[in-house]
């Protein structure tokens, strides 16, 4: 009696106890469901040790930890500078001060405009408060606002047709509903304004709304795509396997494993985001694949035997392959822990745990059900029968030389395709057009401003930020930045100091420069600061110790390469032109622009570890080092080809792609495990290679095809998500599995036979 037979016997002997155990385990896991939360914080995607994130925290600590919501106001065509429009804009600005957790509100009407008037320097809101807007005031506004560097492309569109109201809020810790409060308030204001000012159009964007959309996308995926995938998986099972008993048992197992996975996420305290909410779908399709293997083996045995002995044999022969396949898959998912981005790590963990639960359920529930089929009943049918599989085997073997040429050719093309791949990650563009947030964001970017930004925080080596040399360097850098492609607006204190210096000399244009002494600059700034109203202070631009100041460039970019290029060029420019005054580019835009590259670097290590572990398991399982090495071929080629095709067609990948290679390696190895274990068993029985191959096709071919189709459909459904990370994970994984199927059926036999001949 083999070990597999003994375990099978034990499973059958203690079936009732095991069933109860699985049920209790299931109940314990789904008790975690009430703890499930949807995360609405973009920062969730940045790991604690991420250098870009640390830089963001440094910046937030020095200035203000606030997030901006931008509301774009488009007045009716041709009325932008009419008194009634400005009156409306002023009221909207005032209303915005009522936003929960508001730190400051900036718009063209409350902009602190300054100018000299005789011996006085007036610093006042561009539009006076508390009085009706007269035609004269409107004319003055129309004269000044479109010419102000600090307003244009930020709070007023370059064409003067749209306004921006920028609302900074400080989200408190420990108040999970804070974002919702802010968004609800602003939605209410928008509705009120729309009613009071017919003909006005409003659009809003920013990270508060983006965070909520993140949670919304997660909820949408969990509620629509996961059930859709479930229906698809069951439909496929029913299509391929004509056994109601097996399909119903599989439905229960797959459903339970999916729910248990959500439960695990609840217990682990994981906040589901758009990146993780969909991951139980992976457990669903992978567990259904195990069910397929088990059921097909049972049906094969049923052709010659009654249900009970057939079940015993099916379980005994599948115990090792299904266990090895599931463990390697789990290792692939655990490999995601090498990623920097927490949602990817969390996805790996919950899927790995869900898979192990699914494995236990398959071994306990399925045999229990299958063994109880009526003795003597006819064997169920499958869509793909032995004859078809053997026919396929003969055709593949007859054409094997073709595949040995076709595959390397495709790989060569793929490598070319991979060189074309670009990285594009942007928190705003992760959502597709089905979300209002994305549509609004695109509109704001098109009509008003650039929503990406780079923040350069300069620290003075000694003295204070008001050192003339330091400020002149920053001024030169600011001027350089303004000239760069994609940059629409730059905010820098040097503009304020220059303006104040000019005003101090009766607005003499020649004095529009940094003053010659540190004291003069400090005092000019102090004068300006004393003139500011509450909330509109300089603490968002200069730190309280007066040692750091930041320059922010607002950027209208279509691709994150724009940001990476600008960040790189800015750093090079500073090194060459202002070597004493340098800063690195920081902020969320650049952190996301670099997130794929960063995760890729780490996942490369993860892939290496997973590769080594899985290969080791394969070698141990197959008890054959050479076979283990050969098995790598059909498992590495698919990812190569998938990324190659992607590079040729879609070109850009995002954060989701970084985990695909490692994750799919664990998945696609399954088919190879099943294939090689059967093939080697046949060979050990003395069958010649060709015959062993034909048998292997007839025994596991159908299972490999059916499970691959189920996986492709499942991950393709994941790609229907409105969130780009899921789209890329789903689509790329489906393509990899498709290529893996081809590699297992076409390439692996050819390579095996070639290897047999040479050895």
């Amino acid at each position: 009696m083999s070990a597999a037979d003994r375990i099978t016997a034990w499973i059958f002997a203690s079936q009732k106890g095991l069933l109860v155990t699985i049920l209790l385990l299931f109940l314990a896991l789904i008790a975690g469901l009430p703890h499930l939360r949807f995360g609405d914080d973009n920062r969730n995607f940045l790991g604690a040790g991420n250098a870009d994130y640390l830089q963001i925290q440094k910046i937030e600590d020095a200035y203000a930890q606030s997030t901006t919501t931008m509301i774009m106001v488009i007045p009716p065509e041709g009325t932008a500078f009419e008194p009634a429009t400005l009156d409306a804009l002023r009221r909207m600005t005032t209303d915005s001060w009522q936003t929960p957790y508001v730190l400051r509100v900036d718009s063209a009407v409350n902009y602190s405009h300054s100018y000299a008037e005789g011996e006085d320097i007036i610093v006042e809101p561009l539009l006076e408060e508390d009085v009706d807007v007269t035609p004269e005031m409107a004319a003055r506004f129309a004269d000044i606002a479109p010419g102000s560097d600090e307003l244009v492309n930020r709070l007023i569109a370059a064409d003067g047709r749209a306004y921006g109201i920028s609302i900074d809020v400080v989200l408190p810790d420990g108040v999970p509903e804070a974002r919702r409060d802010v968004a609800d308030f602003l939605a209410g204001q928008r509705a009120e304004w729309a009613a009071d000012y017919p003909g006005f159009e409003f659009r809003s964007t920013g990270s508060v709304l983006g965070g909520l959309t993140l949670a919304q996308a997660a909820r949408d995926d969990a509620i629509t795509l996961v059930p859709l995938a479930f229906v698809a998986a069951i439909a496929l099972l029913a299509l391929f396997i004509r056994s109601a008993r097996a399909v119903i048992a599989s439905t229960l197992i797959v459903g339970a494993a999916t729910l248990a996975t959500f439960g695990v996420a609840g217990w682990l305290g994981i906040q589901l985001t758009a990146g993780t909410a969909i991951s139980p779908l992976a457990v669903m399709v992978l567990t259904s694949a195990s069910c397929v293997h088990m059921t097909l083996a049972w049906i094969r045995e049923r052709e010659t035997d009654d249900p009970h002995p057939a079940t015993l044999r099916a379980l005994s022969t599948n115990l090792a392959p299904i266990t090895v396949a599931t463990v390697t898959t789990a290792i692939g998912f655990l490999g995601l822990n090498f990623a920097d981005s927490p949602p990817l790590r969390e996805m790996g963990d919950i899927v790995a745990i869900g898979l192990i639960f699914g494995l236990a359920a398959v071994f306990v529930v399925l045999p229990f059900t299958l063994a109880r089929a009526a003795p003597g009943s006819p064997a169920p049918k499958t869509l793909l029968n032995h004859a078809m599989m053997e026919g396929l085997a003969h055709r593949v073997l007859a054409t094997r030389m073709v595949w040995l040429i076709v595959f390397p050719a495709v790989i060569a093309v793929s490598i070319l395709g991979i060189t074309r791949i670009g990285f594009d990650d942007n928190m705003l563009r992760y959502f597709d057009d089905r979300y209002e947030f994305r549509r609004d964001t695109d509109a704001v970017q098109e009509r008003l401003t650039g929503l990406d930004s780079l923040t350069f925080s300069f620290e003075v080596p000694d003295g204070s930020v008001f050192e003339p040399g330091f400020l002149r360097d920053i001024d030169r850098f600011t001027l350089w930045l303004k000239e760069q492609e994609h940059v629409v607006s730059v905010s820098s204190i040097t503009d304020i100091i220059k303006r104040m210096n000019k005003s101090m000399s009766a607005d003499d244009p020649a004095e529009n420069r940094i003053a010659n002494s540190r004291e003069a600059n400090a005092q000019l700034m102090m004068f300006y600061e004393l003139s500011l109203p509450i909330g509109l202070d300089l603490n968002t631009q200069i730190d309280v110790s007066r040692l750091q100041t930041r320059v922010t460039a607002f950027i209208r970019s279509e691709h994150s390469e724009n940001l990476r290029t600008l960040a790189r060029e800015a750093e090079v420019w500073m090194a060459q032109n202002t070597p004493d005054t340098e800063a690195i580019a920081g902020g969320y835009s650049i952190a996301f622009a670099r997130i794929t590259e960063r995760n890729n670097r780490q996942m490369l290590v993860g892939l290496g570890v997973v590769l080594a572990l899985v290969s080791l398991i394969l070698m141990l399982t197959l008890r054959d080092v050479k076979m283990g090495a050969i098995s790598l071929v059909p498992n590495l080629v698919p990812a190569l080809m998938a990324f190659g095709i992607w590079g040729i067609t879609f070109q850009d990948v995002n954060l989701g792609s970084t985990v695909v290679t490692t994750m799919t390696f664990g998945i696609v190895v399954d088919d190879t495990v099943h294939f090689l274990m059967h093939y080697l068993a046949r060979r050990k029985r003395g069958e010649p290679p060709q015959e062993a191959m034909a048998h292997t096709f007839s025994v596991v071919g159908a299972a490999i095809i059916i499970t691959s189709i189920a996986l492709i459909v499942g991950f393709a459904i994941m790609a229907l998500s409105g969130f780009a990370i899921n789209q890329h994970i789903g689509a790329l994984t489906a393509i990899v599995i498709g290529f893996a199927l081809l590699a297992d059926l076409l390439l692996l036999p050819a390579v095996l036979l070639r290897f047999e001949r040479t050895s």
Partner: protein, 264 residues
């Protein structure tokens, strides 16, 4: 007998409590605020040194130092004050002159020694962060009682001192950057102990706690420490007062924009 006893007791009670019964919450609030203000004025002139320590949300600090001189106008209507900075070094000798009036908006000028110019500060602003701190300029001063409506709320133990405090809500009669200020005034010596500031939307934005009071010249209570915490940003500013001096014989006419250039 029994009846008349009851009546006289009732009469006595009525007489005893009648001032309280007759006084509305507004009147009581005003009366207490007025008493508190009166303990602080009448000093003619005063000088004091201030040191601000600004704390970021994560605890890094920065310091500002200045000398403040105040002189009450001869007609006792308002005052003139001069704030001369000492630290940070690049604003040393920068001087802020304020003329405050009981019934009109204050006038302010700044002397910038580096460019040797005096410039008036336009009146629309001034409510922002004072030299980057959590204080607005107005938060550091005693408020003119008549600029506010006062509503007495309740009596309760002082939050940061022994004894009982009256809690009074005051609202500016003019436009203000705060929707409401809630003031705790102790009953022992009518000193302001705590002020909570509520922003435009009525949220509790800042809290000022005032402590280490000392009596000068047997007449004026003055604190040594004012601590302002911003609940939105988590930032905090400590303002330490030292070296109070009263009645040193300053002439209010020296506190003019033209005289600013000569001040050292």
């Amino acid at each position: 007998m029994r009846f008349s006893g009851l009546l006289s007791a009732a009469l006595a009670a009525l007489l005893f409590v009648s001032p309280a019964l007759a006084e509305t919450a507004e009147e009581k609030g005003y009366r207490i605020s007025r008493q508190s203000a009166d303990t602080e004025t009448g000093f003619r002139d005063m000088s004091v040194e201030g040191e601000m320590i600004l704390y970021s949300a994560r605890g890094s600090t920065s310091t500002r130092r200045f000398t403040s001189r105040t002189v009450e106008n001869d007609d006792n209507q308002g005052s003139r004050s001069l704030l001369i900075f000492d630290w940070p070094g690049d604003i040393r000798n920068t001087a802020l002159l304020t003329h405050s009036f009981d019934s009109a908006r204050d006038d302010q000028w700044l002397y910038l020694p580096a460019v040797r110019k005096v410039r008036r500060i336009s009146s629309s602003g001034r409510s922002g962060a004072f030299v980057g701190s959590e204080f607005a300029y107005e938060d550091m001063l005693d408020q003119n009682v008549d600029e506010f409506t006062h509503v007495w709320q309740r009596t309760e133990p002082c939050p940061n001192a022994p004894g009982a405090c009256d809690v009074i809500d005051r609202q500016s009669k003019n436009s203000s950057s705060y929707s409401l200020q809630r003031v705790w005034i102790d009953q022992t010596d009518n000193r302001t102990r705590v002020i909570q500031y509520f922003d435009r939307r009525g949220a509790h934005l800042k809290t000022l706690t005032i402590s280490d009071y000392q009596k000068y010249n047997d007449a004026y209570w003055r604190p040594a420490l004012m601590d302002m915490t911003n609940h939105l940003t988590g930032k905090r500013t400590e303002l330490k007062w030292s070296n109070y001096r009263f009645d040193t014989g300053v002439n209010p006419t020296e506190f003019t924009p033209n005289a600013l250039r000569n001040i050292r």
